[in-house]
Amino acid sequence: MIRGSAIVRRKEAKKGIRLTIMIVGESGTGKTTFVNSLLDQKILDHKYQSSDGDMTASAWERTFLPQTAHEEPGISITETNVEIIDEDDSKLLLNIIDTPGFGENINNEVCTREVINYLKQQFDLVLAEETKVRRNPKFVDSRVHVCLYFITPTGHGLREIDVECMKKLLKYVNVLPVVARADSFTEVELRRFKRTIMEDIEKYNVPIFEFTYDEEEDDYDVIQEIEFLNKIQPFAVIASEEVFTREDGTQVRGRQYPWGFINIDDAKYSDFPILKSVLLGSHLQDLKDLTHDFLYENYRTERLSNVGGMQFEDDNANNLLPRDFSFMGNPAREKPPPSLSNLAALANSELTTSMLGANSTRALYEPSTPTHKSSMLFDDVEETSGSPATLKNDTSSVQSRTTDDSRTHRADTSQSSVRIQGVYDDGASVGSASAQPQRQQMRMMSETIPYVLNHERIEQQKLKLQQLEERQVRELQMRADMLERKAKELRLRERTMNAQSEQHQQGEQNESAIKKEETLTDLHSVLQEQ
């Protein structure tokens, strides 16, 4: 089924463009600040509420407790939805996935695992929806389009966790490595660090997102730009939540140090404005397309070929794929489509959600409109740096939902918690609003769903399992002992009976059968000893 792209685009414009960004990286590398700088507004709360800052919805759980600081936080995954309305009425629905707690534990093996689980889960949701006869018209595609991996600014290179995590993430999401807190590097050091990272990426074979171009189709300027982007990877950013007023009255987002002031939107100082335009502008569509056409397809193929046999029900399967994969060579295309029954089983096994829908023709995906090279939000880099505060918060309604629901029941997230409506306004953004003409509206529909995963709970489970195993082993041992005892008894009885029978043997009655118990093995006790 191929639909006319024009129609879809109109629909799309009305509904808005959806983009899901995941931020991963060790805590304290400036993730939160980066997001807040990116959107020019305080969207995410910091790990700890600043003592004199505004108390926001979730402040109560973000109060700093020194007594419990030694407890490993595990990892949580939160979603925050933001709606940005451009002046031409085009909407951008941003979903920010944060991963607080990442890298903060003593043993961080759980972190990567949980992030991957989350990504897979989003793919599974789409997969399940795809296979439904009746589609849910309200289905929201929650696949993550890009993952910004924040590299700890060590100056040495990548660390084990960086390499391992990025390598694993690559299968499910476009990974863009980012060096945050770039203000800890001098120019020379930063160049060296970037080079080391790229060397490491090559050395450890971590194929991060690459900006590609078509030599025949793209014009010279675009090719130059793309090559530039590839050259400056990884993006080194400096972020700030503070807005300062310059002498000429303009507002600047920046960092004030005793030794100088950093304008974060100045491309001379950091790659922040470039990354901003790449993410929200020039490569937004590329990221989305790659996610669907390549990553998701690969996942899908893998998933389906793993489930059950390979029976073909071609008609059905073809109908399930609403897209024309012409965007790029897709290896997944060649694989045979799956059977419906398998899919249903898969969906049921994975999800406890009940997404009922009536509209079977609903578009699950945004269409592949030609890549916008010029930004939807920002015209180009230079302009952005000149007018940093372009976003203004008009009405912000915040919905904060918190649950400690377990990870598999994400959709069940209860609504039982606090609901606060209010306006986020730190002095800075208000200031920017008055100074700048209203160009864009931003509505925030923050749904922070902590997908709490207590590390301790996992440990406890492990322990319980261990105990269970031990108990089982002990029981087995006991049973084996018992059996052996019984065997001995039986043998004894047999012997006496044999003796008796021999005495009374008349030639007719004969206990000639050899007892079976004699050969019972007790080898597992040998194993036990080891």
């Binding site: 030639g507 004969n510 000639s512 050899i514 004699e518 050969t519 007790d522 040998v526 000893e529 080891q530």
Partner: protein
Amino acid sequence: MATEHSAHASKESLGITSAPLSEKPAPAREVKVIRRKLNGYVGFANLPKQWHRKSIRRGFNLNVMVVGESGLGKSTLMNTLFNRNLYSASSAAIPATEKPSAVEIESLSADIEENGVRLHLTIIDTPGFGDAINNTDSWTSIVSDINNRFDTYLEAESKVTRNTIADTRVHALIYFIEPTGHSLKPLDITFMKQVHGKVNLVPVIAKSDTMTEEEIVEFKQRINDDIITHNINIFKPAQFENDDDDTILSTQDLIAKIPFAVVGSTTAVTTADDRQVRGRSYPWGVIEVDNEEHCDFVRLRDLLVRNFLEELRERTGNVLYENYRTEKLKKMGIDQDNSVFREFDPNLKQEEEKVLHEAKLAKMEAEMKTVFQQKVSEKEKKLQMSESELFARHKEMKDKLLKQVKVLEEKKSQLEKSKTTTGDGSLQPAQKTRKGFLR
């Protein structure tokens, strides 16, 4: 207490070793050391200043033993040295003749403060030394007292908790030589030889006002000759390489004046030019104690307190005590293990760990192997047994059964024989029997 740690601290805390910097033993693995002279000011050169401050806070202590025949002015000299009446009047004036022949050990303590610096002084007196007719053994109690003090320290040092070790070791022994004008007496030589390895020996010529300047010079010469010929170690202050020229000169001068010819007096007298000085007034003039021209008292004081007190203590702790301890422990049968004096080497440590690990692994393997083999052979035996038992029983039973068969067959053939005449159905049973065997 202020005096309690300083001895201990000076010895070990700093990691200061008595060996000079240059003397580096060549280890098996060359230890790489970066050597650099800094131009800028980093600040660790402030450490001596920090010690300066710290030492004031902690205070100092000094234990001086005075040995000499009675009547040589020991107590007077001590009183003069520290400028106070250390000896109470009662003990000072007891005539020597009333003393018993045994040597006694008496100690007096005093805390002296000067410009905020505190000194805990202990004077160990040995009344009765050399007073008997036969003095051959008069040093034994002195030597054993010195040893006891070392032992006490050794014991304290080996305790589990040793936060405060009182240092009672003798830091200096002032030996009074009678101003005979001849040379050292046999008792002097014997005694000095007994103690020179255990204490900082400071010989002084007592009551030097009884000799003329020339006599003193000659006497000193003879004493020094004796000291050299008898290989007696007396305390001589070391020269610091960083000292300025004045200090070097004055130290050299001080060494040249050994043994010090001293005069003690706490009474103030008036000199001819009308100055009030400590000294002794004679009809022919006044001997000023504090005048370097008149006697070596000032030199002695410099050596004991002003310039070399800390060195006396250092040498006591780092050399004399250590030597005593080494000998004592070796006598007790404690073997020296020089392998513990080794520079830390991570590679070496890794190798050690590897060896440990391999040993552990080997042990584990051996244990598991034996258990395994034992279990396997047990099981094998069991199975073999049941196998052979099975066959044996089978054979036995079969034999029995076959015997029965034989008996029956015999019976049958007998019966058949007897029955041939009737000739009734003999074929049928035979067939049946055969059938059974063929099955």
